[in-house]
Structures are given as C-alpha cells and as structure tokens.
C-alpha cells in the first residue's frame, strides 16, 4: 500500500485543486473521511479555537499540536497535511518540529514565514521574518524529514506586508530551497490568484477562509489555474459553531430541543461517525 506521504504528493501534483477540508480533532476527521475526501488538513487555528477556546495567535505548543495529529492519524486512514505554523521557533526548532510531527503521523507539513509566535493569516498586525531565516527553516525541514515524500508546503504571509510581487519572489526562493509546494497566503482577488499560479513552478495551495480575504473562486476555476489543493480549513468548525450556538440558545430559551431537532445528528449517525461498528467487531474478534 502506498505511503500516506506518497498519496498526498500525488493528490497535490494532479493539480486538480483537490479540496482539503480541515479538522482539529478525530471527530471532524472521521466526518471528512466518511464523506469521501482524499486527505485531511489539520488546522492550527482550529486546534487553538477548539482545544483552548482561544484565537489563533500562537498559544498552542508543538506538544499539543502533535498530540492532536497523532489522535487524528489514529482515527482516519487519510493522509494528513498538518499546519506546523512557524515551526515553533527558529530553524533549530524546525528540526525538532519535523521529527515530532512526522512521527505523529503527518504526510505533509505547512510551514510559514511569520515571526514566531504567529497570527492567523487573515488577521492584521502579522509580521514576516527575513527571507534568509525562512529559507534556513525550509532547508532544515527538508534535511530532517525521514520520508522523502513528506510534503513541505512553504507558506508566505508577505502579501499583506510587502505586496504580491515580493510574496511571489519569496515563494520562488522557497522552491529553490527545497519546498515541494508553495502557498502565498491571503491574495485578495481572482487576478492575484491567477498571477500566483502562473508565476511559480510547483503546485500551489489556496486557502479559502469564510469571511477572510481570499475570494472563493470555486474548485473548477482553481483547477483551471493549476492549484494543487484548496484548503477549507475551518468550514466544519464554523458550521459546528453556528449549529451548537443555535441549539444551545434554543435549549436555554425554550427548555427543550423540540424547535431545533433538525440541527441534531441522531444517535445512530453519531455512533456510525465514531466507528462504533468497527469497535464492536474488534470486541467480538478478541473476546
């Protein structure tokens, strides 16, 4: 059977703008797998939001992210593209980050050129490190990976700070340093997205944040431009957030779930999603 790293590499290199839905935990990853997605994006913002109830401002540690990755890797058979933020420090920290996350089960690592600790790519007030430091991190990541197919997705946040041409130049230098894929974060128009795809030799990643800065072109258009994958990192989180809010507000207000019953998954769907039949089968087998 092909390794998850090789599968993810093939998916990205088809340049079909494969949609990667984001998960911050095993449950969301299970939903993604059941629906038939080919890979999971492990979202750093999602982990910060769902685990800490905190914003995506670099509060989660490598240890915590790795624990989430390991749990998700155990819950699903899909390859995981993991948000590794800045590598949690400098190029020396990147070495440990790659070791820890590869061992936890990542098939690809997304690393970015923000100053540590980072901020969400669609927030104001973010800052980038000098290009040399980012190139050192990419080289550190490439040298450290044990599996040569572990995808190194180099992200630049320079668009919002230095402008699009500078961001594209940075991505070009990252490719020379060994990045398999680049990801110019937060372009603000269809024309910018097209320019990114035209200018860079390796497959590109687009990140569609609902309510964020990048327009949602739709998968077909992203595929025409040659994007490798399109991240919908927090679609599931935002859906769950609204639904949980509406249901709990109604319960508080009305003292029952009657008016919001259609928001709730049934008991059977819930057990199906967490693979209870599989565990039942294991129980029979080993009894």
């Amino acid at each position: 059977m092909a390794r998850p790293t090789s599968i993810l590499k093939a998916i990205i290199n088809r340049r079909e703008a494969t949609i990667l839905a984001g998960a911050a935990n095993g449950l969301f990853a299970r939903i993604i797998e059941d629906i038939g997605y080919e890979a999971v994006y492990v979202t750093g913002a999602g982990v910060a939001n769902m685990y800490l109830g905190a914003p995506d401002i670099g509060l989660t540690t490598l240890t915590e992210v790795a624990a989430h990755v390991a749990a998700i890797a155990d819950a699903v058979a899909l390859p995981l593209l993991v948000d590794a933020d800045t590598g949690f420090g400098n190029p020396v920290n990147m070495v440990r980050t790659v070791k820890v996350l590869e061992r936890a089960g990542a098939a690809g690592l997304q690393i970015e050129d923000q100053v540590f600790p980072k901020k969400c790519g669609h927030f104001d007030g973010k800052d980038v490190v000098p290009l040399q430091e980012m190139l050192a991190k990419i080289k550190a990541a490439v040298d450290t990976r044990r599996d040569g197919d572990l995808q190194i997705v180099a992200r630049t946040d320079a668009r919002a700070i230095l402008g699009l041409p500078a961001a594209i130049d940075r991505a070009g230098a990252m490719i020379e340093a060994g990045a398999d894929v680049t990801f110019v974060e937060a372009p603000t128009s269809a024309e910018e997205l097209a320019q990114i795809a035209r200018s860079l030799s390796v497959p590109q990643v687009a990140n569609v944040v609902f309510g964020g800065r990048t327009p949602e072109l739709g998968q077909r258009k992203f595929a025409e431009l040659g994007f490798g994958c399109v991240l919908y990192a927090n679609a599931a989180l935002q859906a769950a957030l609204k639904s949980a809010h509406d249901v709990l507000a109604a319960l508080k207000r009305e003292g029952s779930l009657a008016s919001v019953a259609d928001h709730l998954a049934g008991f059977d769907i819930r057990q199906q999603t967490v693979a209870k039949p599989k565990y039942d089968e294991l129980e029979r087998r080993y009894r």
Binding site: G58, T61, L62, T63, E64, V92, R96, P117
Partner: protein, 293 residues
C-alpha cells in the same frame, strides 16, 4: 501552608534560601531528603533529560509537565521553575503562568532573551527590548491567581549590553511588579557583589559550575545581600560524572561496579516512598473499624 506562601517566607528570611536544581522525580526527592527548604527546576537539566541541549527546543507543555512531576515527587518543598522567555510573547506568558500555577509551582523566572532562548552561560544570546520584557513581567503579575506566586525577573543583558544595562533592566522589572531580580551571569566577583547593592529589591544568585560567573561561597552570597541562590546544574553534573565512571568501569572490569549508592534494591525503593506505599497496600483492604461509642 501553601508552597507559594512558604516560598515567600523563606525568601523574606534573613538566611539565604538555597535551591538546588532538580530535573525529574529522582533529583527532586533527593533534594528533599537532603534537607533543603526549596528546590529549583532547571530548564537546561529538563532539556538534558530529553537528550537535548538548552537551546529552547522544549515546549511550554513539556517544561510545565516536568514541573508537575517535580512538585508531585517533592510535594513538601516549594518549587522555583525556569520559565525561560515564557515561550513567545507576553500572551504566551499568560498561558505559561496559568499552567505553572496549576502544576503546583511556587515561583518562576522570566527572562529578556529573544524566544526561543539559549542557556544564559552560552554565547550568541539576543535580547528583546526592555518594553517587551516589562510587558511579560506585567502579564505574569496580572495573571497569577495566587498573589503569593513569586515572579522573578531575569535579565540576560550582562553579556549582551553590559553590566549597567542589566542593573537598569532588573530595576525596571521590579518596578513593573516582579518580586525578585535575577541578574544572569555577572562576570567578576566585583559584579556579583554589586548586584544586590545596585538593585532596589530582592536578588537571586545563579551558581553555575564552568559558566561565566566566578564561584561564590553561599555564606558570602548571604553577606552580599542575596535572598536566593539556585544551583541548577549541581545534580545534573554529578549524574554525568557518576554515570561516565560507572559505564567506563563496567567496560573495563566486565563486572557491576560498586555503586556510589551502595544499598540493595529495597534500600533504593525506600528513597522513593516504598514505606508509605506499603502502608497504603493494606490500608483499604479491610473496612474501617467502627468508631468507639
């Protein structure tokens, strides 16, 4: 008494508080059994126990996890922990203080190196601005839930920006609410002497073997005006030496060397609470005797 309150008492006492460095449950227990009143969790030793140098490679989660192990092992002693830079900005400091308080730590030191940091006695350190350092101290002070939790401000400015700058930063941190100042790596005996004289508050002395600071007798440090002395590497270095010697002797003699600790298996376990655990073995087996009328 809470460990934080006890730590404050010990610091206020005219006698210098000596806190040897622990990095795991073994070293914590041994410090307790040797009769010291407090202990220190060394970040360098914690890193070494992961097989790593003190280059800021460990995460806050790993450091606090180790602090929790140490407080569980030596519960009667207050723990001063190495909080490094707070592992990021003042926002990361907020999270670190919350986590350390929950781990049972009685006090932490926070330093003004760029995050991720380097050991204070290595070359190539970089500093954050005083403004950023003070933001971290204020964040720590505002976050502690227990007002007795001790915030120690450490400045690494001596080897980067000079002695005067290190004193200026220490005093600014005390003004911003730090309880104790820790001027890292003064380079001469005269500088060691000057720190308590020029700092407007309580001072901590870091005694490192083979570092940048000359060796000082603890009684002398007390006379100089220091309130706390930490010896982070005392046991770690003893362990290197003892292990190297035992391993070399095994290779040479092909026999188990006579250990420095020459007890049997049972004696070894007794150092780690075997008697107390044995008492618990039988204690819950039988229903409690009915209370006398």
């Amino acid at each position: 008494m809470k460990p934080t309150t006890r730590l404050r008492q010990l610091i206020a006492d005219p006698e210098i508080l000596v806190a040897p460095g622990a990095y795991d449950g073994i070293t914590a227990r041994l410090i307790e059994q040797a009769g010291f009143a407090a202990l220190y969790m060394t970040g360098a030793g914690t890193s070494a126990s992961f097989g790593l140098p003190d280059y800021g490679l460990l995460t806050m989660t790993e450091m606090v996890g180790n602090a929790a192990r140490i407080t569980a092992a030596a519960g009667s002693l207050p723990l001063i922990a190495d909080g490094d830079t707070g592992y990021g900005t003042e926002l990361n400091v907020v999270r670190m203080v919350q986590e350390h308080e929950r781990a049972g730590t009685a006090g932490i030191h926070i330093e003004d190196q760029v995050s991720p940091k380097r050991c204070g006695h290595l070359d190539g350190k970089e500093l954050v601005s005083t403004q950023e350092f003070l933001a971290k101290i204020r964040a720590a002070v505002a976050t502690r839930r227990d007002p007795d939790f001790v915030i120690i401000a450490r400045t690494d400015a001596r080897s980067v920006a000079g002695f005067d700058e290190s004193i200026r930063r220490a005093n600014a941190a005390l003004k911003a609410g730090a309880d104790v100042a820790f001027v890292e790596s003064p380079q001469t005996l005269e500088e060691v002497r000057m720190v308590p004289q020029r700092v407007d508050g309580l001072c901590l002395l870091n005694i490192v073997w083979g570092g940048k600071t000359p060796q000082v007798d603890l009684r002398e440090a007390q006379l100089m005006g220091y309130s706390i002395a930490i010896l982070p590497g005392l046991l770690l270095k003893a362990v290197y030496g003892a292990c190297d010697a035992a391993l070399a002797e095994l290779k040479e003699t092909h026999r188990h060397p006579r250990p420095l600790f020459d007890g049997n298996v049972r004696d070894g376990f007794r150092r780690f609470g075997a008697d107390q655990w044995d008492a618990l073995r039988s204690r819950f087996r039988d229903p409690p005797a009915p209370a006398a009328e």
